[in-house]
């Protein structure tokens, strides 16, 4: 793969390996996947940090994300501009956080970002309703949605402000051991 044509320099690969949870092989595999998404846009040669971003619509079409109800939110949470355009580095970041090795705290931070639809740093009822509708194909009646969201806030809200702050969320995550294994996308 990398014999004839160098995709990354050794220094770059070192940096990737030091800063993410991936090995060089996986980095190369990720580059392959990224390249696959738009072969005419993404260069094979990354040694001089080419500036290239792929829009959300392309990334969301990856088989790993295609069926995920939160796909748009995932991509948006990791894109610097917030609109879902991902550079390769952000792409690597995304899968690094979603990898098996990432610690709970890191995953929790990004999960919170994903569920925070209106980016106000709280999971308010509106966010929860959106989450619930995404999770249940919007087949619950509005009353049921209301009830479930209320219960959720009631259970997880520690400081009584009727919305979930990151602290509340983290506290809840720390008691949900499955989160580590379910917030995980194999690449």
């Amino acid at each position: 793969m990398g014999n004839k044509q160098t995709i990354f320099t050794d220094e770059q690969l070192d940096a990737y390996q030091d800063c993410t949870f991936f090995t060089r092989k996986e980095i190369l595999r990720l580059h392959g996947r990224y390249h696959e998404l738009a072969p005419h846009l993404v260069p094979m040669d990354y040694t001089n940090d080419p500036d290239c971003k792929l829009p959300l619509a392309l990334i969301v079409n990856m088989p790993e994300l295609k069926e995920n109800p939160f796909r748009n939110r995932i991509v948006e949470a990791f894109s610097e501009d917030g609109a879902g355009n991902l550079s390769f580095n952000e792409f690597v970041d995304m899968f690094s956080v979603l990898s098996e090795m990432a610690p709970r705290e890191l995953k929790a931070i990004y999960a919170f970002k994903i569920y925070d639809f209106n980016v106000d740093n709280y999971l308010c009822k509106e966010d929860l309703e959106k989450t619930l509708n995404k999770l249940t194909k919007e087949e619950l009646t509005p009353e049921e949605v209301e009830l479930v969201c209320e219960k959720t806030i009631e259970e997880a809200d520690l400081d009584g402000d009727n919305k979930l702050s990151f602290t509340d969320f983290e506290n809840m995550i720390s008691r949900a051991p499955d989160f580590l294994s379910t917030f995980h996308i194999r690449i």
Binding site: A57, L58, P177, T182, R186
Partner: protein, 973 residues
């Protein structure tokens, strides 16, 4: 947040206006007042939807890339052009994120106005980690001007980063890499920090001997790369990566956990096979390659099933090994090798199990609170690894059903009367009694069957085919029981109505464990007390029995999964559609694996090569289960807590099963007399006495006194074990106490969080009541004035009345600053301020420029002269007001975190202001508005990403902002 863009987009006049553009931003930036919240619900739709809006979305990927790439290049160049020393700013700060978010929704292509350009990310690195700190800082200055806060925050962040780098430099390499990896920043920032740290390190080292440092650096680099390539290689060797991904994509994590468990057990067996084969079998084969088989025994084929006859003379069983000491290049004592290999393997297995169990407990049982079920279902239960469309649909359905069920359950729960409770208790008791007696009955029947078989069996070397086939009776019955009785248990489970699904599963698991324990216990008892005294080479007989159990169990697993799942799938799809496709029962399948592994552990002494069979079995089973799963099964309907179940399974594997196998093997080697005729330990009283013999021989070798000392004073001394036991108990007790203390502490901390929340709401209430009681005499007059002002504002700029002038001005400054910088990046010569090192200086200069620019705008023929003039005036006014107010804040203890102080600070500024009475009415209006907004919509567009108590500070800031707006207004006119 995404909404503003559309609002602006559909109204071309709206975003041609500079002021309105700012206005729009200010509303997203402004935490307190959201002008659109109640006015126009239409703009509030999902962020995701915006991307599909036909007008704004770039039609092709190319277009999007060009536009974004262009921007990106600019920002890169901009970054390079600012010599900010250590801190460049690779990322947009997250508290500005919204700003960018809302603005970048507007496609540059659809919009010709320059105002749509992305606002500059002036400040330095800011990330989630630092965000937390920033929030705190922001909270500490609730009353102050955002520009001031911004500067303070930026400085704070720079300092924070410096601290981080310093901290990282002191860490060891491994820790450093781990810490960097776990920083919640984007890759660019991490890379930046990493290079800073590395640069710092090398600069420090260059003071020392450079040559040596270089060499050292090279060596460490080599080692690091070597380490990484080993990790890569290990990943290449990882078994079944693709299949695992496929399974998790189609069936989710809970089903995958079965396969992970299977793989884990497979690894155990591969290890044990390598150890046994390497240290016991290979030396024997090297020394004596031909097995000593009696001439009248030949291979007949049935041996593969029964393990008797031909195979019983090979190295498969204990009997095939000799007790000699091979003299080749070195002496190799077969007895010692056999003993120590088995012993060390068992100890290593135990340690590995304890460690993985402890780690799993640590990870999965931290503070598990069964109460938070709904929150869990909503926010943690979605399995991100699922990629299959059908599975996603099914999962969504299941979740919906589960949520509905739990809602209805809650309604019913209170209705249970005493008689119903008694009835339920009776059902539980009955089913427990029934299932336990079933297990006991199975054990007893197996015992009698064994006795019957023993009467039939003889010690002869060559059995007839019928005799050989008869030996399969016991394993057949055992496997049949293992297959059928659990079905009865599931049937019982249908009649008991457990309140929670978890209890139901646990009940099922416990019953199955009892059954398997009874069966294995009876078998072990039979082997140790009957077989051991009856046959000449009894270890081989036990080995054969275990071999048969393993093989027949394998056949039943195959048949069970093939016919059981296949047939029920057929029935479910063709004959009885209401039954449905069978679910994959993770608990039952894992217990089957545990049972199979226990057989292998027991057999390790009697048949050292049994792991080879086990490897084959698990390997085939993996593919078989995978095929059966994908063709016949559906994912489990109940979304259980898979991680917890997995921990339980590892614990179960360790506690009754591994410990049972270990004690069985230990008992055999300590107490039972090895057979006289065969095996490595022939002629000894017990297996363990081989160590005594070895010690005795060691006396003659001079250099080995310490080994003898250790043996005599540690292994053989009761006192040592007594002391060890005491120490372990003391340590355990201490840790137990510590964990109790921590539990209490956690409860305390949680209580504290609740208290803080209560305090917050109390203070807000208090604040409101105090405000309401404020006497405002001139309120009517001022209200009128307000209305006129609002009217004039609406005439001039549409929605300025709702916006916050202060934030507006700040934003204007930022925007102009960005524009200037962009121009500078584009090559237009700009005064020397670019080279000014201080960011603050730059900001100030930019502001001046912004003002100049604004005046320039003002002079230009404009469609909206009134708006820009208002802006200029507002900004000038703001400057004045700001300087006054800042002085005042400093006087009135503005930095205190105490909300009460904050409040007093506010009231003081209010009173000292020349518009105090007018302000109070305005204030009230604002407060009401913001309170309403908060209550009804619970949606505060906070740019500060502020997780800490927002209510009070937001309120105060809103009030202040309004006051300031009033000031500016009055000054302006």
């Amino acid at each position: 947040m995404t909404s503003y863009s559309n609002d602006g987009f559909f109204n071309p006049a709206y975003h041609d206006s500079e002021t309105l553009e700012i206005d729009r931003r200010s509303s997203s930036k402004n935490q307190h007042i959201n002008p659109y919240t109640r006015e126009d619900p239409a703009w509030r739709f999902d962020g995701a939807d915006t991307h599909h809006s036909p007008v704004c979305q770039p039609s092709s990927a190319d277009a999007g890339r060009v536009a974004l790439g262009g921007w990106q290049e600019e920002s890169w160049r901009r970054r390079d052009s600012i010599p900010m020393g250590v801190i460049s700013n690779p990322g947009s700060p997250s508290w500005q994120h919204e700003l960018t978010h809302s603005t970048s929704q507007i496609n540059p292509q659809c919009d010709q106005s320059p105002s749509v350009r992305r606002p500059s990310s002036v400040s330095g690195n800011m990330t989630m980690r630092l965000t937390g700190i920033t929030m705190n800082r922001m909270n500490m200055f609730p009353n102050t001007d955002p520009a001031f806060i911004e500067d303070a925050v930026r400085n704070e962040m720079e300092k924070e980063e410096q601290d981080l780098i310093k901290e990282l430099v002191t860490l060891s390499r491994r820790d450093r890499i781990r810490t960097i990896r776990e920083l919640p920043m984007c890759f660019e920032e991490k890379k930046h920090i990493r290079s800073q740290v590395l640069a710092f390190k090398t600069s420090k080292q260059s003071h020392n001997c450079t040559c040596f440092a270089d060499y050292f650096e090279n060596v460490t680099l080599c080692f690091r790369r070597c380490g990484y390539s080993i990790r890569s290689a290990r990943q290449t060797l990882e078994l079944w990566h693709g299949i695992m991904k496929e399974i998790s994509g189609k069936f989710g994590t809970s089903v995958l956990s079965y396969f992970v468990f299977l793989k884990w057990l497979l690894m155990f067996n591969i290890f044990s096979f390598l150890v046994n084969f390497g240290f016991i079998t290979i030396p024997l084969l090297v020394y004596d390659p031909s097995p000593n088989i009696p001439p009248n025994v030949s291979f007949r084929g049935l041996e593969i099933l029964t393990g008797a006859g031909y195979i019983s003379y090979t190295v498969m069983y204990y009997g095939g090994y000799s007790n000699e000491t091979f003299v080749g290049l070195a002496k190799y004592d077969m007895q010692l090798a056999y003993f120590f290999t088995i012993a060390i393997y068992m100890v290593l297995c135990g340690i590995a199990l304890i460690f993985s169990m402890a780690r799993s407990f640590m990870k999965n049982f931290v503070l598990v609170n069964p109460a938070s079920d709904k929150a869990w279902q909503l926010l943690c239960s979605w399995d991100f690894s699922i990629t299959n469309e059908r599975a996603v649909r099914q999962r969504k359905n299941n979740l919906r059903v589960q949520l509905k069920e739990s809602l209805s359950e809650q309604a019913q729960r209170e209705l249970l009367t005493l008689s119903e409770k008694l009835k339920q208790f009776g059902v539980y008791l009955g089913s427990w009694l029934l299932s336990t007696s079933l297990a006991v009955g199975c054990g007893a029947s197996i015992y009698y069957l064994c006795q019957y078989e023993q009467e039939q069996a003889t010690d002869a070397a060559n059995w007839t085919l019928l005799q050989e086939a008869q030996t399969l009776l016991v394993p057949f019955v055992v496997s049949l029981m293992n297959l059928v009785v659990p079905l009865f248990y599931s049937l019982f489970n249908k009649f008991e109505h457990y309140s929670s699904q978890r209890r139901q599963i646990y009940a099922l698991v416990v019953r199955n464990i009892f059954l398997k324990l009874f069966i294995l216990g009876v078998l072990c008892y039979y082997w140790m007390n009957v077989v051991a005294y009856r046959f000449t080479c009894w270890e081989s007989m036990v080995g054969q029995a275990l071999y048969r159990l393993v093989i027949v169990d394998f056949l039943f697993l195959m048949l069970g999964s093939f016919f059981g799942e296949f047939l029920s799938n057929l029935i479910g799809t063709r004959l009885l559609p209401h039954v449905g496709i069978p679910e994959f029962d993770v608990a039952r399948n894992v217990l089957e694996l545990i049972y199979a592994q226990t057989l292998a552990w027991i057999g390790i002494y009697f048949s050292p090569l049994l792991p080879a069979i086990q490897i084959l079995k698990f390997f085939i089973l993996f593919y078989l289960k995978k095929v059966s799963l994908t063709h016949n099964c559906q994912p489990p309907r109940r979304i259980g807590r898979a991680a917890q179940m997995q921990t339980i399974f590892i614990a179960v594997l360790f506690f009754p099963f591994f410990v049972g196998a270990l004690s069985m093997v230990a008992y055999v080697s300590w107490r039972l007399t090895p057979s006289e005729q065969c095996g490595p330990f022939r002629g000894l009283n017990s297996t363990f006495s081989v160590v005594g013999v070895w010690m005795h021989n060691l006396h003659e070798i001079p250099g080995s006194q310490w080994v003898i000392w250790i043996y005599e004073h540690i292994i053989e001394s009761e006192l040592f074990y007594f002391l060890i036991a005491l120490i372990v108990q003391a340590i355990t007790y201490t840790f137990w106490q510590i964990s109790q203390g921590r539990k209490a502490l956690i409860a305390l901390l949680r209580q504290q969080i609740v208290n803080v929340g209560k305090d917050k709401s109390f203070l807000i209430d208090k604040l409101q009541t105090l405000q309401n009681s404020d006497p405002n005499k001139k309120s009517k007059e001022k209200d009128q004035k307000m209305h006129t002002k609002q009217c004039s504002d609406e005439q001039s700029s549409g929605s300025q009345s709702n916006s916050n002038a202060m934030v507006q001005a700040l934003l204007a400054r930022q925007q102009f600053e960005e524009e200037d910088e962009r121009r500078s990046a584009d090559g237009v010569p700009v005064p020397a301020d670019i080279s000014t090192p201080s960011a603050l200086m730059q900001a100030m200069l930019a502001r001046q420029r912004a003002e100049a620019w604004d005046e320039h705008l003002y002079q230009m023929p404009d469609n909206y002269p009134s708006s820009s003039s208002t802006l200029v005036q507002a900004m000038q006014a703001r400057q004045r007001a700001e300087s006054q107010e800042r002085a005042e804040y400093i006087r009135t203890a503005p930095f205190s975190e105490n909300p009460v102080n904050r409040f007093s600070a506010v009231s003081q500024t209010d009173r000292s202001g020349d518009l105090s009475s007018s302000v109070s009415s305005v204030k009230m209006q604002v407060r009401e508005k913001s309170a309403e907004e908060e209550d009804r919509f619970q949606w505060v567009p906070s740019p500060s990403q502020n997780p800490a108590p927002p209510g009070s500070s937001a309120l105060i800031q809103a009030m202040l902002a309004r006051q300031q707006a009033q000031n500016e207004f009055d000054d302006g006119y």
